[in-house]
Symmetry: C2
Subunit: 239 residues, 2 copies
């Protein structure tokens, strides 16, 4: 599958960035290039709001959307945090085996003159690894705070923190950001030379995720606080 | 993992719809209820622009974003089409084994008074099955048209269709929409009774995917056609 790509040949607009060469992410890089690539990974993770977590359950793939948090200063390459009910199937499976975490932004629909060269402008990160079950209480709370603050920066200090009972119900997983790849496509459609005179419109429909006006819960008459306003504004309207 | 849910206990705002009872999707339903549920599945697939495809490669999960198309009239429960390069790892793997296709819409960030009850409003569909490699040339072209028309309705008849060489490079997979579940969360945050007086703002930041103004390719001076305009307008601005 061509990573949101409609084009089925390598597209000049496509760019793949691989971190930490492994069987799945195979290119060797210079130290400088690796730093650039790591920043590209952090950028995709910072902009994303949730991920798709893949696990293998009884031999079959299971892909579920879930929230995540990031601490780029924890561990040699940074750490991704996931959480879930201690009873949930995918979390129970995850600490024993490899997972794949994918974060994708769709930036535009790319319409070529040929059906074959239709594509999507996007940025995506794919992270592989065997997550560690977080057992240290301080890191567990830290991981949960990172997840809440990823959705809305500053939020963890503007809520009641999890109590002991809630913490006991929750599993937190930590995944090293070591084996990862970043792939992006941007720019206009790329048609074959012989198709350039065809009478079909070609271009890009840009896509944006924006926030609407924050809506108070019916039982809350407080003013929308700065951290919430700021989160909504950061998503903002399309430029 | 709680399906984009920050809450780790069942949330009154959560609703799961399961189709075709199996080991993974276990509730039995009346015929009427099943029809309603099937419509919920089609609605999530119609609104989605791309999916996350999970496959197992060498025992490990691989999750990649990709485009898809739908034909609800093909087969007893409708058919989902995927495509990719004949050389791509995940497509080569897919016709021999089970896949999981997940489509997710994030509708809002749900901010509770307690960290534990933070959540996300969303709609998601998860489809399981072993896809069939489409070998019939007519169905192959049909599947590709469905994928192009899913991105922009009407687009397949406003482009050059794939030629023989392009078709030979492309694998098309068909997945029955038989074993699937739909899960949604909507509405305000749900806090514990004893937290209702805490002095923290609670509410929802709505999220919308919108289209910007279509951008012509630099070498295209045609007017934006109706089907492109209409696609952009359907995404539109938030209400």
């Amino acid at each position: 599958m061509d990573r949101v790509s409609m084009p089925l040949v390598p597209d000049p607009g496509d760019m793949t960035t691989r971190l930490q060469p492994t069987a799945r992410t195979t290119l060797r890089r210079s130290k400088e290039r690796a730093a650039t690539e790591r920043q590209a990974l952090y950028d995709v993770l910072t902009d994303g709001m949730f991920c798709h977590l893949g696990v293998v359950v009884d031999g079959d793939p299971l892909v579920l959307p879930t929230a995540y948090g990031v601490d780029i200063d924890r561990g040699p390459d940074g750490t991704l945090y996931l959480h879930g009910s201690v009873a949930a199937r995918s979390v129970v499976a995850a600490p024993r085996q490899a997972v794949c975490v994918t974060v994708t932004h769709a930036d535009g629909l790319v319409l070529a003159r040929s059906a074959f060269h239709h594509s999507v402008n996007y940025r995506s990160a794919v992270i592989f690894g065997v997550p560690r079950l977080v057992e240290d209480p301080d890191e567990k709370l830290h991981g949960l705070n990172r997840i809440v603050d990823h959705l809305v920066p500053g939020r963890s200090s503007a809520t009641r923190p999890p109590n002991r009972k809630e913490l006991a119900k929750t599993s937190v997983l930590a995944l090293d950001l070591t084996e990862a790849s970043v792939k992006t496509r941007s720019g206009p459609a790329n048609d074959e030379e012989q198709d350039l005179d065809l009478p079909y419109w070609t271009g890009v429909i840009p896509l944006h995720v924006i926030a609407g006006e924050p809506e108070n819960n019916p039982d809350c008459d407080l003013l929308v606080p700065a951290h919430v306003r700021s989160r909504a504004n950061r998503l903002g309207a399309p430029s």
